[in-house]
Symmetry: C2
Subunit: 208 residues, 2 copies
Amino acid sequence: MSVTPPRERSRRGEGDQLRDDLLAAASDLLAEHGSVDKVSLRAVANRTGVSPTAVYRHFENHDELMAESVLWCWRELDNALSAVSDGPDEDPFECFTKMGQAYMAFALAEPGRYKVLFTRDLMELNSVKEMGLQVFARLVGLVDRMFAVNGDTRDSFFVASQVHTWLHGIIELCRDPREVADDNLPFPTADELLAHVPAALGLERVDS
Amino acid sequence: MSVTPPRERSRRGEGDQLRDDLLAAASDLLAEHGSVDKVSLRAVANRTGVSPTAVYRHFENHDELMAESVLWCWRELDNALSAVSDGPDEDPFECFTKMGQAYMAFALAEPGRYKVLFTRDLMELNSVKEMGLQVFARLVGLVDRMFAVNGDTRDSFFVASQVHTWLHGIIELCRDPREVADDNLPFPTADELLAHVPAALGLERVDS
DNA sequence: TGTACATCAGTGAACGCGCGTTCACTGATGTAC
DNA sequence: TGTACATCAGTGAACGCGCGTTCACTGATGTAC
């Protein structure tokens, strides 16, 4: 039980700073433990260098703290994907590849943080659901643009769902690339599996 | 906190019966909660109608109880898949479809029980890993037989991994088909997504 | 056939722990006058 | 410019709870003689 040194008290009027600090600490703890159940309010307070009661100045209870923390993780994913430039003048097929790699990189860098995004109970909250759909909308948009180039008439939402499910499964199977390396499990790596997705789903540029 | 009526004490020499009863109760609790962390030793004892201390006659501790419980769940999946006849004189493409449906049915009937199979820490135990690979081997064998018919020269292990990851992702996305029905999430159903897997992965009979 | 006894299949009380949450409080700091 | 005071940003002790685990035990039952 490592104890973080006490946090310097915020100046007057800057009390909201603690809220962000708590969410950042919670995000780290979620990344470490990979589950909302394993991250206690007290642990978040402790990691932040603050007493458990201080948390109640910013969150109703443990449930709300965790819901907001997962929302924070979603924003981290959204930011990571924003780094991939996909303006309308870019090649959507290249964007798709880069976006897939960025998504995979986020998921594999901190598997616990990725896993927590899909916490079943939290998905029922509108805030979390909307955030999830917003990220998904990036994918749908990209598929739309590839379809436009190829003259593909399939339902882009359906194909985006195919992409999403497949990537999600790859991440689950090959969560930690290091495990695969020194382990006797002969599973393919995430990169290999990822590389076959565009062709299998007909998301490569058609020369005509 | 519902309390199961006390269990009738086993006759002398039949003490092992309790072990199976505990595992069956644990399997149900895992199905209900979908996580090893949420199922306590006391809850398993309670569900079985026995005192917590009785558990220690059959298991070292909570960890071993959970490990054996998950192994029990794996055997339930293995049994469910065994119901699909896939003798060498059957059409492997039909078997593949039926096996996929059986797998999906198992996963969607009790999402919690399915989810628990892939508990990260437990996968490091040889007993669990072997059980997982044994189930996976069914799939590889099926892919082999489809390849034989089609003269397909791809690596069957790799393609089986593609199937596995994709199905796994579909299950995660569409865990509960009822949610999709009355919810505003417009995601495709598991059946729709599943139906597109064989074609996308080149696992349909080639007419030549 | 009767009885002493070892064994089996458990029970019940107790422990220390970390948890979420409540309550009364404290001390620094900005502001009104 | 000095001071009283309201407010802010927290703290610290305490609560009841369920947990994993230990320990000493109990009572039925099969078996040896």
